[in-house]
């Protein structure tokens, strides 16, 4: 298919661009296969806006006489308005944008066409391999092994080819366990707590069904993570009644009779359409321009968004507490083990593991616990808060995770190497990107699409020193402790950086950030100068001494 076929009017002049808190600009609008490009003609202040079609969530058109207006709502939550003279032009452009922003085939997406303008220093596709992770693990314990049972994705389609499992469990047993778990997602190692040797496993629900099926290998596998005489916790992200209902459909939960050494805790982490609706309501509330304070708070409340944040953080803290404070191993799962499970295991690692609070460590966490673990990014992030389609697999699962990280970041502003912008960047790229990192739903699909060969990795770009400097937190000082956030409502705030990003003037906040950076920078410069002088002085003084001798 040629993109040109979809573009009936590739260019329109005298278009006015309206954005909140910016004066309207007049300029030329161009459509290409992957971008909407607006450039102002004004000499003094030439401005260009490049918008990926894949970033467009929905468009609306209106006409007043022959002046057409297109309102474009983006997945990054920005809303822009274009006034296009000429009814035909406007209609053509609108229908082109609609077609180009809803392409079916992944291989038509921009990452397959994008040619980087930068030199690749490190191929991001191989920056974070599970093998490296295992090497680190092997240096502290020999209780685990790397299994290739899922080579060719033959055992579990949503798992990566290699996984880390208890050493005493062989591949044959793993195959049996896979049959006992939803989507074949058998328990694998998610995190090993070096401090006390406790492990966090994740999986999907066991397929006990109504007649209480059991699987000896499954029991053996998870028991292998327990110290003798100690017990572990199963954190089920579903409320008990939901877990019970799941039995009717062949699912279920670990029953005490068969797992006597495990205590089950049910949490209530919402999924799918409930999250999506909450997301839509929240964004609606944030875009509401009325100045009524009451309506704002009740809309914020009615969206339930912060409730989801609180529940999720609480569950993650609980998992971390079991491991660090109770000295117990933990197994986390919900139903499929691809959404709430990953939220909990990855957030628990943020709390427990200082490494996950560094930039590279956080990237590794996203790769390990989200991409390799088979979170279906393509499905979940197909549409954002402005979409009208009610597809049931869309949900802001990853965004919720990022926001929870932000909440912890806000409470421990000096303990993270990255800044808020880094989290926002990941949010943007998960929804629309020139990079192939977040395409596909799991490693299997990514391999079939040959993404590593055909597209550029986000990590190849973001880890270049000149890009990295934008995402560094000036206040960062490595903190080796476990960080326990407060989950009280008073301690949680709306993530303004994402939800109010386009609705508030950010100048004053940006200036504040600049000040912070400058204060630290000046301090470091002075330190370097003083050190250099001291050294020089010391050299001269010793010279003096030698001469005197």
């Amino acid at each position: 298919m040629e993109f040109a076929e979809l573009i009936k009017t590739p260019r329109a002049d005298n278009v006015a661009l309206h954005r909140p808190f910016h004066p309207a600009v007049e300029g030329t609008l161009c459509l290409t296969g992957h971008h909407l490009i607006f450039s102002s003609r004004r000499q003094d202040n030439a401005e260009e806006l490049w918008l990926l079609h894949s970033n467009i969530d929905s468009i609306e058109k209106r006409f007043v006489g022959s002046l057409g207006t297109i309102i474009i709502k983006c997945k990054d939550l920005r809303i822009i308005q274009l006034d296009i003279p000429g009814m035909e032009e406007c209609l053509n452009i609108a229908s082109s944008i609609e077609a180009l922003s809803t392409l079916d085939s992944v291989t038509l997406m921009y990452p397959f066409f994008y040619r980087p303008m930068f030199e690749v220093l490190e191929d991001g596709w191989s920056s974070f391999l599970l093998e490296q992770e295992f090497e680190l693990l092997s240096s502290v314990t020999n209780e685990w092994r790397l299994s290739c049972v899922n080579k060719e994705f033959s055992v579990c389609p949503s798992y990566p080819p290699v996984v880390i499992v208890p050493k005493c469990i062989d591949d044959e047993a793993l195959r049996k366990v896979a049959l006992f778990r939803h989507g074949s997602r058998f328990p694998v190692l998610s995190y090993y707590h070096k401090k006390n040797g406790m492990a966090m496993l994740r999986s999907s629900q066991p397929l006990t069904g109504t007649n209480g099926r059991r699987c000896k290998e499954d029991e053996k596998l998870i028991n292998a993570t327990l110290r003798s005489g100690r017990r572990g916790f199963v954190i089920d992200t579903r409320p008990l009644n939901v877990a019970q209902q799941a039995r009717a459909k062949g699912g279920g939960f670990e029953q005490e009779v068969h797992y006597p050494q495990w205590r089950r805790i049910h949490k209530c982490i919402e999924r799918f359409n409930i999250l999506q609706e909450s997301f839509i309501k929240l964004v609606e509330a944030c875009n509401d321009q009325s100045h009524n304070m009451d309506r704002w708070l009740s809309k914020l409340e009615a969206s339930n968004w912060l409730t989801h944040i609180k529940e999720l953080l609480t569950a993650a803290c609980l998992a971390a507490q079991c491991i660090d404070r109770e000295g117990a191993s933990v197994l986390v799962h919900g139903s499929e083990g691809t959404d709430s499970t990953l939220q909990v295991t990855s957030l628990a690692q943020i709390i427990l593991d200082p490494r996950c609070r560094t930039i590279r460590g956080f990237e590794a966490l996203v790769v390990r616990e989200w991409l390799l673990a088979g979170h279906p990014f393509q499905q979940r992030c197909a549409q954002s808060a402005y979409s009208n389609s009610k597809q049931k697999w869309e949900a802001p699962v990853f965004l919720l995770f990022l926001e929870c990280v932000w909440q912890i970041h806000r409470q421990f502003p000096c303990s993270f190497e990255f800044n808020e912008q880094f989290l926002i960047l990941l949010f943007e790229h998960a929804y629309a990107s020139q990079f192939g990192t977040f395409l596909g739903n799991n490693e299997n699909e990514r391999a079939k699409l040959k993404l590593p060969q055909k597209t550029m990795s986000l990590w190849s770009w973001v880890n270049r020193p000149e890009e990295l400097s934008r995402f560094q937190n000036p206040l960062y000082e490595a903190n080796s402790l476990v960080i326990w956030p407060s989950v009280a409502p008073q301690s949680l705030q709306l993530w303004e950086g994402v939800f109010l990003r386009w609705n508030r003037p950010s100048k004053f906040l940006e200036e504040a950030e600049e000040e912070r950076i400058n204060i630290i920078k000046y301090n470091k410069e002075l330190q370097a100068k003083v050190n250099a002088l001291r050294r020089q002085l010391a050299e001269l003084e010793t010279g003096e001494e030698t001469r005197e001798e």
């Binding site: 206040l475 008073q490 912070r516 002075l526 003083v530 001291r534």
Partner: protein
């Protein structure tokens, strides 16, 4: 009384046993325990209510709520002791004479001269001169010397030059409590001004020629403009109701060239109830997000805060952008008027956003113009209906603006919190009484100390590290139109949950940056010294090339950085399941947590809120707070929810 238990409001599991002392000025609770005899001091004047609850098996619970939002729950073993304490506290918390207040016995060990100097720190004459008055349009009037015209006004007031004593006195007779229009803020750049008064006694049809002349004089004092705004900060309905009582508002037909405007800020009773409701929300044990947001909205608190700021924005805009003078009043002109005038001044003039300027602002718009501190903040036993958090709201408005303009204020959040604290503490004489007249009669300046001097002495603790006097945000008017978005208003947990340290961010960016700046300053000094030494050495050694390299010990400056992470904290109760889990070893959990309180919480009377106590994780290297003030700025106390009541576990 011995063997009293102090309960942690959020977690019953963290109760501590100790001894309760009552002194003439404080309630003091001292924890038992060999090393960490943590002390909690509460000034009697801070106590807002005492509640004796039904006796239980463990003893008699006593709940003390404080005006600085501290809530203390005690359990006293003997019912009789509890009753005695209750009766004593009720009496002590409600003194009937000013002489009983703490400021008359508080002695910070300063000599007479230092005390006098302290009172001179804030000088309103100097302030009016700074504004540019007296000048061709404004003069100082002595019509109120000996408080002959208005006993709640200061003796010295600035009025338009064309307003004769006759006009002033005539106008005063036409205004509630004779609070005639007087200058609050003068804008040097364009001659526009903010004046303040009380409501006119217009009833349904009354007029007063002198009052009309007075407003005319205010307009004339701003030759660039042909009208003035008259802003009535009350809701229209309230103002209309006042007409029936012979009061009311200006009729535009009677006054030439005024534009009349209502701004609906609610009265003190609505505000009192609103705060009450919000505090109930703050006191909820493990509230859900919905409980909290719903309760916050239901209290209406943020709506009121927004109304006050919006009013300030309106006036600041009129003065700065339109160049039009404004007369502000409410009913008596000492509550809403004070709030609105001071918010407008703060937006207009960067001076008021400095530490000194902020003190001047409170002294000018609140203290000198007869804001009834004693009645509003219940320093002496009085009518509970007079109590209302009027200045608390102003202080919160400032905080909300600080959140939106992080570089615009020289002071930080702690400064505001400490001012709020001392408005109620009665430790300093500044906020005693209801008017200047009463304060002079009591000889406050001779007998008590000034808060401003105390804060000024410790100003390093109150600096905003992001403030630079040459930054664009510190110049001119704060552009206020952006402040009108409702989502910019946030709940201030730093104030209303001030004593629940666990709810706050565990690391303070402000303190961190202040420490870095302090270190930077040391480095600058060292750099200078080193450069000098180097220059000297080079001079003496010129031509000598023999240089031997040797590593120098540089431990001196790295020390500061390594000791920064004092954020060891402990987990909350994220689930009550863990408690009942049988394999749990007894060495973990409560005991460990509670035994870890290291720092002594010694509430020195001068700094009652710089208390810090921090739980630290065992086995952690010595982590000391980096903050230069050494204050309770990196609170790391467990914010643990009460495990028994926790609702974290769904289903």
């Amino acid at each position: 009384v011995e063997n009293v238990r102090l309960l942690d409001r959020l977690s019953s599991r963290r109760a501590v046993v100790g001894t309760l002392y009552l002194t003439a000025t404080h309630v003091i609770f001292v924890e038992n325990g060999s090393e960490t005899r943590k002390e909690t001091w509460v000034l009697h004047s801070q106590i807002s209510s005492i509640e004796k609850q039904a006796t239980t098996a463990t003893g008699c619970p006593l709940l003390i709520r404080c005006k600085n939002f501290q809530v203390i729950q005690l359990v006293i073993p003997q019912e009789r002791d509890c009753h005695d304490i209750y009766i004593s506290l009720i009496r002590l918390a409600r003194p009937v004479k000013y002489e009983e207040l703490y400021c008359f016995s508080f002695n910070p060990k300063l000599d007479k001269e230092e005390r006098e100097q302290g009172w001179k720190l804030v000088d309103l004459n100097e302030e009016y001169n700074r504004m540019g008055v007296p000048n061709n349009y404004w003069q100082i009037s002595d019509v109120n010397r000996d408080y002959g015209v208005c006993d709640s006004y200061p003796t010295e007031v600035y009025v338009p030059k064309s307003a004769t004593a006759h006009i002033i006195v005539g106008s005063s007779k036409f205004r509630s409590r004779r609070r005639f229009p007087a200058l609050s803020y003068y804008c040097k750049g364009n001659n526009a001004s903010i004046c303040r008064s009380s409501q006119p006694l217009s009833g349904f049809s009354a007029r007063c020629l002198e009052d009309e002349q007075m407003l005319q004089a205010i307009r004339k004092a701003n030759p660039g403009s042909d009208f003035i705004y008259v802003v009535d900060t009350r809701p229209k309905l309230n103002a209309m109701a006042n007409r029936a009582a012979g009061k009311g508002y200006e009729n535009e037909d009677n006054y030439s060239n005024i534009k009349f405007q209502f701004i609906g800020i609610e009265n003190i009773h609505v505000m009192r109830n609103s705060l009450q409701k919000m505090l109930e929300v703050c006191e909820l044990k493990s509230p859900s997000m919905s409980d909290f947001l719903w309760g916050l909205e239901n209290s209406g608190w943020l709506k009121h805060i927004k109304a006050i700021i919006d009013a300030g924005i309106f006036i600041a805009k009129a003065v700065a952008e339109e160049g039009v003078s404004v007369l502000v009043h409410c009913s008596d002109g000492w509550d809403r008027t004070a709030q609105v005038c001071s918010v407008a001044s703060l937006l207009l003039d960067p001076y008021y956003r400095t530490m000194k300027g902020f003190m001047v602002l409170i002294e000018k718009d609140w203290v000198s113009f007869g804001h009834k501190f004693n009645h509003r903040y219940g320093n002496l036993d009085g009518d509970p209906k007079e109590i209302s958090p009027v200045i608390d709201q102003f202080i919160e408005c400032v905080w909300q603006l600080m959140e939106q303009f992080p570089c615009a204020f020289e002071f930080n959040e702690r400064f505001l919190i400490h001012i709020q604290h001392h408005i109620y503490s009665c430790q300093f004489g500044n906020f005693l009484c209801n008017s200047q007249k009463e304060r002079r009669e009591l000889q406050i300046k001779e007998r008590t100390y000034s808060l401003w001097a105390h804060l000024w002495k410790n100003r390093a603790d109150y600096l905003n590290p992001l403030y630079r006097s040459d930054h664009s945000q510190t110049q001119g008017t704060l552009h206020p139109q952006i402040a009108s978005c409702n989502f910019l208003y946030k709940f201030w947990s730093g104030m209303y949950n001030r004593f629940e340290k666990g709810l706050h961010p565990r690391q303070s960016v402000t303190d961190y940056l202040m420490a870095v700046k302090e270190e930077t300053q040391q480095l600058e000094e060292e750099l200078e010294v080193l450069q000098e030494r180097l220059a000297n050495l080079q001079k003496s050694q010129s031509g000598d090339n023999k240089v031997k390299s040797k590593q120098q010990d540089q431990s001196k400056q790295t020390g500061l950085y390594t000791s920064n992470n004092s954020l060891a904290n402990t987990p909350q109760e994220y689930s009550n399941d863990l408690k009942s889990f049988p394999s749990r070893s007894p060495s973990q959990g409560d005991e460990e947590d509670s035994a870890l309180i290291l720092t002594q919480d010694n509430l020195k009377s001068s700094d009652p809120d710089l208390s810090a106590n921090s739980d630290q994780e065992s086995g952690v290297e010595d982590l000391s707070c980096r903050s230069p003030s050494g204050g309770g700025c990196l609170p790391s106390e467990d914010s643990g929810k009460d495990s028994d009541e926790a609702v974290f576990l769904a289903g």
